[in-house]
């Protein structure tokens, strides 16, 4: 299945990536597993994705790591919000 992953703000800078399409050889995956898979890319990935302050949204709704994502989901990782 294909996942569309977005990265914002400081996370995008640290990872050198704003958007990617990832192919996963399973019909669904938990965020915990997805994060573990992405973390194998290196220290920056490991640190940024697993920081306790890092937030995740699936299809534009904030979720926790137990969330299961399936085909064509839009996943976003970002640091704490600082608008307003």
């Amino acid at each position: 299945m294909m996942l569309n992953i977005l990265y914002f703000a400081k996370l995008a800078d640290e990872l050198g990536c704003k958007q990617e399409t990832l192919t996963i050889s399973a019909p669904e995956i938990t965020l915990t597993t997805l994060k573990a898979q992405l973390s194998t890319r290196g220290d920056a990935w490991q640190t940024q994705l697993n920081a306790p302050t890092t937030r995740c949204a699936v299809n534009q709704v904030l979720v926790n790591d137990n969330t299961v994502v399936s085909a064509d989901a839009e996943i976003a990782f970002f640091p704490p919000i600082t608008g307003g």
Partner: protein, 145 residues
Amino acid sequence: MIRVQVSNFEVQAEYERLTSAANCGATAMFVGRVRDFAHSSGKDFHLEHYPGMTEKVLTQIERDARKRWSIHEFSIIHRVGKLEVNEQIVFVGVSSAHRADAFDACQYAIDVLKTSAPFWKKEGDYWVEAQTSDVDRAEHWLNKT
């Protein structure tokens, strides 16, 4: 009404829109401006956002506010892109029959926006850090149902 835009806004025009409905006895408005976070004036200030999710969250804030308080007109305008220190960045306006509804709904909207709407401020190369006091203010409202 929710707007996410690059261009500036005119407070007087927004006030007139808020008070166009009948029986608007009270109107509360909040305007936020860009502060000099890193004390490095002259650096580029930039506001990034998550298009789509931002509008979704702001629309939900309006929906929730309308459930909790008696509101006539409701506006949130948030700017994005390149901004200068001291420029207007956010507008929240609420009109109602009575001041308590207008004041509370206005404060609720800006407090919840600060911790749930995906915007990020960057000054030069420096990403502005989130404040725990902002989380406390939002939770104060969200725990008071």
